[in-house]
Amino acid sequence: MAKDIEISNSESKFILEALKLKQRLDGRACDQFRDVEIELGEAYGDVTVTMGKTKVQCRISCEVAQPYEDRPFEGLFHITTETTPMAGAQFENGNNTGEEEVLISRMIEKAVRRSGALDVEGLCIIAGSKCWSLRADVHFLDCDGGLIDASCIAVMTALLHFKKPDVTVLGEKVTVHPVDEREPVSLGVLHVPVCVTFSFFNPDDTEENIKGEHNGEISIIDASLKEELLRDGVLTVTLNKNREVVQVSKAGGLPMDALSLIDCCHKAYGIVEKITDQIQRAIKQDSIARNQYAHILSSENARES
């Protein structure tokens, strides 16, 4: 395990004192998510997400493979998240067994893959013998907290952006048409889950959370790296625009009551709605930019849509 970042007593004390006054070092309000910047690359399925100083790139690729025997109608979908010291020297190369690394990959796996965000049946080419194997490679370029939230946005945007080559099936014979020969097809994305992470602090005493009465607990959204290092508890909720809660993850830390959990979900919904719209907007703009000559080249008559 690589060494940890050390924080001095003065600094941790000051950050907590400032949080008591509802002030954060980067000037954000406690319930303010960082501005998300989505950059789409030249290739389909190449997305870079920047949130403050956090930077994550996701890249989707696909190849033809054989489906699992017990699931002949489904394609394969893998998400790999590997940390490198590029994000910060606290990460070690090739070591994905650290608590934080495991947590990040598990959370993204749960939020995107197991929530059925991608229609894996749409990846099937010939039942039982051929299907698309899709992989999402998440690269952490810079880590200033909120890796889970940023990665989730990156993976979902990349899935929406990606197009797989068109195929023709004639009996058992499959022809894959190269992208420059025939227009590639989008993936079936069923819903867009977005993660929002809350961090909790109790500067006075953790016991107070249980007793209620004088609860000095502070909750903030989208913690930065330093805030992440100091927090006493963490909660990640994943929601989609249809107001469905995809997952709630709260692994230890400060105890919290049900009411404040519901309150958090409400707060998160506002953020999810905004981010989903932003993702859709980015995808739309990209497709308009790519198709700027389509109306000249097309021989079809314009149709009302």
Partner: protein, 225 residues
């Protein structure tokens, strides 16, 4: 070639370089405390990590790591920081070539590494630049920095890397050849052609990097203007 320096905040130095469809980001941290197995008693230890754009690390990336290591090791002033270590990470953002080739990623990666090392303030004895050159199979024409379709027409491709500096009369001084790696079939006269063209290209890149670094230094000392 498009470049930008200091793009990442949690490492000591970083740079992105993109050239003809290949884009690589490089980060440098150090000199810092090594793990005991990495420590070298008299000189700076190097850890070089190359991550592909798609998929996981394989022997292809290990080959690139070794090539980049052989280029950077003689350039670093290693004996100034004994028992310490520098971590250099490369993340290929756009490969711009199929898995059968490594030439474009290596040459772009080397240029990115030099900028990142300068940004991090790791002592260097010289600068180095790298380029890739292809020779077409039909017309036997040399292509500097081929694009992906051009690469497929080449009978052989070469990575060429030079150690460069400026002498006391402020003339560019070519100090050494650091890497010549060739793939494909070619003859002796073609290789000499490659070396000749490669030298010109490396010198051109050197002047380009110089002006990039000049901009960076003037931004660093914003209060001195």
């Amino acid at each position: 070639m498009e470049t930008s320096m200091r793009v990442l905040s949690h490492v000591d130095g970083s740079a992105v370089v993109s050239n003809n469809g290949t884009k690589v980001i490089c980060s440098v941290s150090g000199p810092m405390e090594p793990k005991s197995r990495q420590e070298l008693p008299t000189q700076l230890a190097l850890e070089i990590i190359v991550k592909p754009a798609e998929g996981v690390q394989s022997t292809r990336e290990k080959l690139m790591e070794d090539q980049i290591r052989s280029v950077l090791t003689p350039v670093l002033a290693r004996y100034l920081h004994p028992r310490q270590f520098v971590q250099i990470c490369f993340q290929v953002l756009e490969a711009g070539e199929s898995k059968d080739y490594t030439v474009k990623e290596v040459s772009v990666g080397i240029n990115a590494a030099v900028l990142a090392l300068v940004d991090a303030g790791v002592p260097l004895l010289s600068m180095c630049t790298g380029t890739c050159i292809g020779i077409t199979s039909e017309e036997r024409r040399l292509i500097v920095n081929p694009t992906e379709p051009e690469l497929l027409e080449c009978a052989s491709v070469h990575v060429f890397c030079l150690e460069l500096g400026t002498d006391e009369n402020e003339k560019i001084d070519v100090r050494n050849v650091l890497l010549v790696d060739s793939l494909g079939t070619f003859d002796e006269s073609q290789l000499f052609q490659v070396l000749e063209t490669g030298e010109k290209e490396c010198i051109r890149l050197y002047t380009e990097l110089r002006s990039v670094i000049k901009d960076k230094v003037s931004r660093d000392f914003v209060w001195k203007q």
